[in-house]
C-alpha cells in the first residue's frame, strides 16, 4: 500500500523530467504543448488502469451524470483524498469539476504566486480523468483552469457519439 506522499513526490519529479527534456527545444510554445501532451498521455494510461481496478465489481452507471458523480466522489477521494467540491454541467456534455484544495497544488502556494507554473502540474491529472472516462466508454477532451491556488477546475468535454 504505497503512501500518498510517494505519489506526490513522484509526480513532481515526472513533471520536472518532462520539462527538462524539452528544454533544449527553441520554440517555447511547441515545448509547452509537447510537455503537456506527454504528461497527459502518462496520466491517461494511469487513469485507464485505475478505473479498471476500481469498477471491477461496480454496477453500470445509469447515465453520464451518474458516472461523473462517481468520478467526483469515489474516484477523486481514492486518488486525491477528498471529493470534488463542486460539479456543474450544461447537460450537453460539458462538465466542470471544481476542487478547492487540489492535492497536487497545495504545496505550491495559496493565491497567485507561481500561477504560471500551475498548468504543468495539472496536465497529468487531466490525462487521468480522460483515461478514466475512456475506459468507462466516454471519449473526452479534458482541460484545466486555475486562477487562485490551490483551487482549480477540470473541464471534461464529453464527445457524444450521437453528435
Amino acid at each position: 500500500m504505497a503512501d500518498d506522499a510517494l505519489f506526490e513526490f513522484l509526480h513532481m519529479e515526472i513533471v520536472a523530467l518532462v520539462y527538462k527534456e524539452q528544454a533544449t527545444r527553441e520554440d517555447i510554445d511547441k515545448e509547452r504543448v509537447t510537455c503537456v501532451s506527454t504528461l497527459d498521455a502518462m496520466g491517461f494510461r494511469v487513469g485507464q488502469g485505475m478505473i479498471e481496478r476500481f469498477t471491477k465489481d461496480c454496477p453500470t452507471f445509469k447515465d453520464d451524470l451518474d458516472l461523473m458523480k462517481f468520478l467526483c466522489k469515489d474516484f477523486w477521494s481514492t486518488i486525491f483524498k477528498k471529493q470534488i467540491d463542486n460539479l456543474r454541467t450544461n447537460h450537453q456534455g460539458t462538465y466542470v469539476l471544481q476542487d478547492n484544495k487540489f492535492a497536487l497544488l497545495t504545496q505550491f502556494s495559496s493565491g497567485k504566486q507561481y500561477l504560471e507554473e500551475a498548468p504543468k502540474y495539472l496536465a497529468f491529472s487531466c490525462g487521468l480523468i480522460r483515461g478514466a472516462l475512456s475506459n468507462l466508454g466516454l471519449e473526452s477532451v479534458v482541460t484545466a483552469e486555475v486562477s487562485l491556488m490551490p483551487s482549480c477546475k477540470f473541464m471534461p468535454n464529453l464527445k457524444s457519439l450521437i453528435n
Binding site: M42, V46, T78
Partner: protein, 180 residues
C-alpha cells in the same frame, strides 16, 4: 462485511496501484526517450535521489524515530519503519558483512513491479532503480553516504528482490565559517 470497510481497504490498495501505475508510465516514457537501459537506470536513480532528499523530511516528521546510533539501527529503521510507511512492505535485513557496513534488504514482494513484465529487449533494465536513488538521497540528508544497488530482482528471474546497501562514509555537516 460492511460497505464502509470494503471501501477503506480498497482505497488503500488503489493508492498503491496509483503509484505503481504511475511508476510504470514513467519507466515506459523513459524507455521511449532513451536508447539504452543503462541510461534509463541512471535517470530513474537520479529522480529517486531527488525524491529521497525530500522524502526524508516527510519521514522524519511523521515517524518518531530519533537519531540512529549505528548502521545496524539505520538498517532496522529503513526496513521496519520507512519501507512499511511508504510501500507497505517490510523487507528483512540480512547478509551483514563481517565489518558491519554492508547488508541486504530482502523483499518477498516489490510493490513497484505488480503486473509488470520486462520485455526481452530490456534485459539490462533495473526497473526499480528509483528505490536506489531514494535510499541514497534520503540517507545523504542524514549525513550518510551509501552505495545502493539491486543484487537480485524478481523481474529478471530471481526468486526475491535483494537490495544491497553499503555504508561508504559519514558526511560531515558543513557549518558556515565563524559559526561556533
Amino acid at each position: 462485511m460492511s460497505r464502509q470497510s470494503n471501501r477503506a481497504t480498497d482505497s488503500k490498495k488503489m493508492n498503491s496501484e496509483l503509484f505503481t501505475l504511475t511508476y510504470g508510465a514513467l519507466v515506459t516514457q523513459l524507455c521511449k526517450d532513451y536508447e539504452n537501459d543503462e541510461e534509463v537506470n541512471k535517470q530513474l536513480d537520479k529522480m529517486g535521489y531527488n525524491i529521497g532528499v525530500r522524502l526524508i523530511e516527510d519521514f522524519l516528521a511523521r515517524s518518531s524515530v530519533g537519531r540512529c546510533h549505528d548502521f545496524r539501527e539505520t538498517a532496522d529503521v529503513i526496513a521496519k519503519v520507512a519501507f512499511k510507511m511508504y510501500l507497505g512492505v517490510t523487507p528483512s535485513v540480512t547478509n551483514w558483512n563481517p565489518a558491519g557496513d554492508e547488508f541486504s534488504l530482502i523483499l518477498e514482494s516489490n510493490p513497484l513491479v505488480d503486473f509488470v513484465e520486462l520485455p526481452d529487449n530490456h534485459s539490462n533494465l533495473v526497473y526499480s532503480s528509483l528505490l536506489c536513488g531514494v535510499l541514497r538521497g534520503a540517507l545523504e540528508m542524514v549525513q550518510m553516504a551509501v552505495d545502493v544497488r539491486f543484487a537480485q530482482d524478481t523481474l529478471r528471474g530471481d526468486s526475491v528482490t535483494e537490495i544491497r546497501m553499503k555504508f561508504i562514509k559519514r558526511i560531515e555537516e558543513n557549518l558556515p565559517a565563524g559559526d561556533e
